[in-house]
């Protein structure tokens, strides 16, 4: 299974095996990784699964749709160029090794 690395705000890294066709958000939530709330469970409704994709990332990412783009203006932490909602980041084989950084807070 593809491995995704979640870097908490305090710098602690957790590497998780995420099933193909799951999302970066699901990988975190299923494994109880703190720092991703995902209150709506992946419905692109709440903006509480915000992550910063590692600036060095070269792996292909799902395209950003309008709903995600609008939600990202309302996350608890500042939107940056590499901001994404992790519920919209699909995991296929191509994301093996992806690193995401979690913001200080989601609510």
């Amino acid at each position: 299974m593809p491995k995704i690395t979640y870097v908490a705000h305090d710098g602690i890294e957790t590497v998780v095996d995420v099933a193909q066709d799951d999302t970066v958000m699901r990988g975190a939530v299923l494994n109880g990784i703190k720092g991703i709330v995902a209150q709506c469970g992946g419905g692109a409704s709440c903006g509480t699964c915000h992550v910063y994709v590692d600036p060095e990332n070269t792996k292909p990412l799902s395209a950003m749709h309008q709903v995600e783009d609008e939600l990202l203006y309302f996350t608890a932490c500042e939107r940056k160029e590499n901001s994404r909602l992790s519920c919209q980041l699909a995991v296929t084989g191509e994301q093996d090794g992806l690193v995401v950084h979690m913001p200080e807070k989601q609510l």
């Binding site: 799951d22 299923l30 709506c40 469970g41 409704s45 609008e70 939600l71 203006y73 309302f74």
Partner: protein, 405 residues
């Protein structure tokens, strides 16, 4: 306070979140999470959406993977029901006669589908659990063109209708009220949803009830007879309060709790669909059925068990997916006396701002997530956005936030 044992009765979204929040907030004592379903705790909203459409399986619904519970010292008891609580002895009694003692007990017993008091109700399926969804999927399995009758035009009924229509069945929705989602949305939003279902080929009948169901037929109160290969009802739920009542706790369409979600017994709380709580928003007793309410109340109670003193004040919000419409509702729009529509309903992108006594009480955003999120913030801030501001030409929530503040 640390080290005390907690028993959570019910392992749905609310119960699971109580256990998760307790651990996240640093609770070190034993946690026993008891649910009567065989499945590990899972999300219910996709049951009427992706799960029914066959786009995800149970593994895609579970809230945590199985190893999470053991790894975090949470004993998950599946397929067992709590049948009694002895508050003097502080023990929960399971159906298998096992007893679990507690320092704190949380009722998260949820609700069950309301049944139709009509002849032939045994032919009607419900949609609350993964087992219910599986039964419906087996009926639909691989086929198209079945006649499906949906009793009730609420969230469940309409979401179900949308998915079944996409699976190319012939769908009729029967709603006794004059409009669909009568208690949940404004007339404008209800009209739009109705039109959308009709344009997709769903027959929506309002103002008529179901008199009887027979094998293959549904008889309506107006005399109409519908052919039905499958009948599914979504006519509301009844909170599961029996165990709390037998334990001597106050029950009134829900387990009655104060603004801290505590019963008269300070060691016993209730959260989620089963809890009728003193709402700081409405000023009265309120019971809400939503993921937001379940998870936010769970976090409040976890904090209370650890010595926190904050009441539950979270703003309610809801969402529904039907076809490509994403309806997001912030606040409680029930009982509003004025509604102002912004945007273009014809294009399926609009918001309805609902006011009561000229105060904003809720925003219904249809494919306008910014209005939903801005609406949440404005409502959370107790903001005085007036009908006049919203109705003024060129009103745009994105630019008027400061103006309204």
């Amino acid at each position: 306070m640390r080290g005390e044992s907690v028993v959570v009765v019910g392992a749905g979204q609310a119960g699971c979140q109580v256990a998760v929040s307790l651990r996240e907030q640093g609770h070190r004592g034993p946690i026993t999470l008891i649910g009567d379903e065989q499945a590990a705790p899972y999300q219910r909203p996709p049951l009427t959406k992706d799960y029914l459409a066959g786009q995800t399986d149970l593994a895609g619904l579970v809230l945590r993977q199985d190893s999470y519970y053991g790894d975090n010292g949470i004993e998950l008891v599946r397929g067992e029901r709590v049948v009694g609580v002895d508050r003097q002895a502080r023990v929960a009694v399971l159906g298998c006669a096992r007893t679990v003692s507690y320092e704190h007990l949380v009722f998260a017993t949820g609700a069950r589908p309301r049944t139709l008091p009509i002849p032939g109700a045994e032919h009607v399926l419900n949609l609350r659990t993964v087992a219910d969804a599986d039964a419906i999927r087996r009926k639909l399995d691989g086929r198209t063109g079945l006649d499906v009758v949906v009793i009730g035009g609420g969230f469940i009924g309409l979401e179900f209708a949308a998915v079944v229509r996409k699976l190319r069945h012939e769908v009729t929705v029967v709603e006794t009220q004059p409009q669909v989602m009568q208690r949940a949305v404004s007339a404008e939003t209800a009209r739009h949803l109705t039109n959308r279902h009709r344009s997709e080929g769903v027959q929506v009948l309002t103002g008529t009830g179901v008199a009887a169901v027979r094998e293959g037929l549904v008889e309506l109160t107006d005399g109409t007879v519908l052919v039905a290969d499958l009948v599914v009802a979504g006519i509301g739920v009844v909170p599961n309060t029996e165990v709390a009542q037998r334990a001597g706790l106050a029950v009134d369409d829900g387990i009655v709790v104060d603004a801290h979600l505590r019963t008269a017994d300070q060691r016993v709380h209730a959260v989620g669909d089963c809890a009728r709580f003193a709402s700081t928003l409405t000023g009265g007793l309120t019971r809400l059925e939503s993921v937001q309410n379940a998870t936010d109340q769970a976090a409040t109670v976890a904090s209370a068990i650890l010595g926190g003193a904050e009441p539950y004040t979270a703003l309610p919000w809801f969402w529904s997916d039907q076809y490509d419409l994403k309806l997001q509702i912030a606040g409680l729009t029930d009982g509003h006396d004025r509604a102002v529509t912004v945007g273009d309903p014809a294009e399926g992108r609009f918001s309805v701002f609902c006011f009561k006594d000229d105060r904003l009480v809720g925003v219904e955003a249809c494919n306008r997530p910014i209005d939903f999120l801005m609406g949440r913030r404005i409502l959370e801030a107790g903001n005085a956005l007036t009908p006049e501001i919203v109705a003024s030409p060129g009103f745009d929530l994105r630019t008027s936030r400061q103006q309204a503040a």
